[in-house]
């Protein structure tokens, strides 16, 4: 009797895991099937590289891909050094109270809803950018979106960096201090080189988060369909393209094209997830 109950419960757990795995795969299928008509005529590459001209019957998503890459790269350019600096301050021993306070605030920041960043972005940052830069245009541009996304991406990157710094064995650092090294030298020549897999992992995860963010880019990047030429150009990201076009008639090629965007996002985030897992497993072996 007890044995059968045990087996049943084990089966239930197994099926729950199976269902969750099945969901992951079915998400891909439900993106692929509606998008199939687009790929059927061998248009695959023309969709990825072509322009978006619905009036002329061209539904390429290249402007969106380049817009996404521009916003993501600029964000990471801001967020990575910023996060590394904050994580350094939190991890270095010395000013204990300041670093504890900073850590608390950073933890709190992970809980701020995305839509809030977008909302404040529209009413605070966009007018600032518009007035501060001569060629700022409407203020809704790559720069505004990247600045707001920096706030979104930094906290978790900081916490992951701190985590990887604290995993470096204490004896390594103590050895530096024992031969007369300073805190800064210990951090610079021992802690930092030892924790590079963790830093890489934090960077990759944050990259995925910025790439897939919808609300901030949708609200403050301006949503103009164009390949960006400067920091002050308005762009449309893949995610906001989905959000803007989904209401179209669902037999139209416009609608099918957003599935191409979703599939692209799916592939990219899978790639990032796999690389994080690879880094993680290598890291475990090393330490």
């Amino acid at each position: 009797m007890r044995r059968t109950t045990e087996q049943i419960i084990e089966k239930i757990c197994f099926f729950s895991a199976l269902i969750s795995g099945f969901i992951t795969c079915s998400i891909f299928l439900f993106l692929l099937i509606p998008g199939l008509p687009l790929f059927r005529g061998g248009h695959f590459f023309s969709i990825l590289t072509g322009p978006w001209e619905p009036g002329l019957g061209q539904f390429g998503i290249y402007p969106m891909i380049s817009g996404t890459l521009a916003v993501t790269m600029l964000t990471m350019l801001f967020a990575f050094p910023l996060s590394l600096g904050c994580a350094t301050l939190i991890s270095m021993e010395g000013n204990f109270r300041l670093s504890r306070l900073l850590r608390k605030i950073v933890e709190m920041m992970t809980g701020v809803p995305t839509v809030i960043y977008g909302f404040v972005g529209i009413f605070l940052l966009v007018p600032l950018v518009r007035n501060f830069f001569v060629n700022g245009g409407s203020g809704m541009c790559i720069l505004s979106a990247a600045l707001m996304l920096t706030l979104l991406a930094s906290p978790t990157m900081i916490l992951l960096f701190c985590d990887s710094f604290s995993r470096v064995p204490h004896s390594y650092g103590d050895a530096v201090l024992a031969v007369g090294g300073t805190e800064v030298q210990k951090f610079l020549y021992v802690t930092l080189p030892c924790s590079w897999p963790g830093i890489l992992m934090g960077f990759t995860l944050a990259l995925g988060r910025v790439l897939g963010d919808t609300l901030v880019a949708l609200m403050i990047a301006g949503n103009a369909v164009q390949v960006p030429g400067s920091l002050f150009d308005s762009v449309r990201t893949l995610t906001s393209h989905i959000a803007l076009v989904f209401a179209a008639d669902y037999n139209s090629p416009e609608f099918q094209a957003i599935f191409a965007c979703a599939i692209f996002l799916y592939f990219f985030s899978t790639l990032l997830a796999v690389s994080v897992r690879l880094i993680h497993s290598r890291w475990r072996i090393n330490t």
């Binding site: 045990e6 419960i9 084990e10 757990c13 197994f14 895991a17 969750s20 795995g21 969901i23 992951t24 998400i27 993106l31 099937i33 600096g85 904050c86 301050l89 933890e107 709190m108 809980g111 701020v112 809803p113 995305t114 839509v115 809030i116 977008g118 909302f119 404040v120 009413f123 605070l124 706030l151 978790t156 916490l159 992951l160 030298q185 951090f187 610079l188 995860l205 995925g208 988060r209 790439l211 897939g212 963010d213 919808t214 609300l215 949708l218 609200m219 995610t239 989905i242 959000a243 989904f246 957003i258 979703a262 996002l265 799916y266 985030s269 990032l272 997830a273 796999v274 994080v276 897992r277």
Partner: protein, 296 residues
């Protein structure tokens, strides 16, 4: 040598500078929100002209206020977490206690993929399923509360799985073996010993998932959230939600008064999410950080 000395002197300075920039930025963002919005926080914002008690008991329909959006968000979050908890915890137990070898690696990878999916992709999946059901089953099916909550449940499923798995795996070996040594079966060990011990971890995971559900906008805007729907009547009706309301107001506001309700809604949502997140952090300080990562 000189370069090294320069570098060593620059590091503390640069790290202090980046911390100050970050603190200044977040203070500006939140300060701006509060300065602009605190005046609009009152009962009229929440309940309009309807007496609060009547509104809460659903005696009268309320308009022009945040009450329907709050009820919408509340029911959405409850439903989504209800769907996600049983499956998530069971899958977490399987992964931590039963899965071995290749199967384990496979499931770990596939849940990483699920956790990394942008929420708009999950939302589009929900929308695509709605169209599929609409075509195949009946044309009565439209984006609604039920579909939204299921899509949200998919979104937060990996958080719950990871929280369960991590806190079960984090139990010390000595605890794991005690009950077994006394003759308990594997199931008894899990249910009576390991699960109660890992309850703080699981709870904090569930609370984090709740916070994610409450703040997510991308999924619900593709699966049934609308700007004016009133209090949701059934599972199959469309609904209002706080984050969607904030997004909608920011682009469609007609006058300053309407914009003020947007600020009010933003403060309320911020407050709810911060409460949930700090609760989760208090319950269990060290949640697995990568479980918090999702583009949304």
């Amino acid at each position: 040598m000189r370069f090294r000395r320069l570098l060593e002197q620059a590091v503390p300075l640069l790290s202090l500078m980046s911390s100050i920039i970050l603190l200044a930025a977040i203070t500006t963002v939140l300060g701006f929100l509060f300065l602009k919005g605190w005046q609009s926080l009152n009962f009229q914002l929440l309940f309009g002209t309807t007496p609060p008690l009547d509104a809460i008991l659903f005696k009268r329909r309320v308009f022009d206020c945040l009450f329907p959006a709050m009820v919408g968000t509340f029911s959405l979050v409850c439903l989504a977490v209800c769907w996600a908890i049983p499956v998530g915890i069971a899958a977490g137990i399987y992964l931590a206690e039963y899965a071995q070898g290749k199967i384990r690696i496979f499931f770990n990878l596939i849940f990483d993929v699920l956790a990394g999916l942008p929420s708009i992709v999950v939302g589009l999946f929900g929308f695509s399923i709605t169209i599929f059901l609409n075509k195949q089953l009946s044309n009565q099916i439209y984006p609604c509360l039920l579909i939204s909550s299921i899509a949200l449940a998919f979104l937060v499923l990996p958080y719950i799985i990871r929280a369960t798995q991590a806190s079960l795996e984090g139990q010390p070996e000595s605890l794991r073996l005690t009950a077994l040594a006394l003759g308990a079966s594997k199931m008894q060990n899990i249910v009576r010993v390991l699960l109660p011990q890992s309850l703080p971890g699981i709870t904090s995971g569930v609370i984090l998932a709740t916070g994610r559900c409450a703040e997510d906008t991308a999924v619900i805007m593709l699966t049934g959230a609308v700007a004016t729907a009133g209090v949701p009547r059934s599972l199959f009706s469309s609904f209002e939600a706080l984050p969607f309301y904030i997004y909608y107001i920011s682009s469609q506001y007609a006058d300053q008064e309407e914009l003020a309700t947007g600020y009010g809604a933003a403060i309320i949502l911020l407050f709810i999410c911060l409460m949930l997140f700090s609760l989760a952090f208090v319950i269990k300080k060290r949640v697995r950080l990568s479980a918090q990562y999702r583009a949304h």
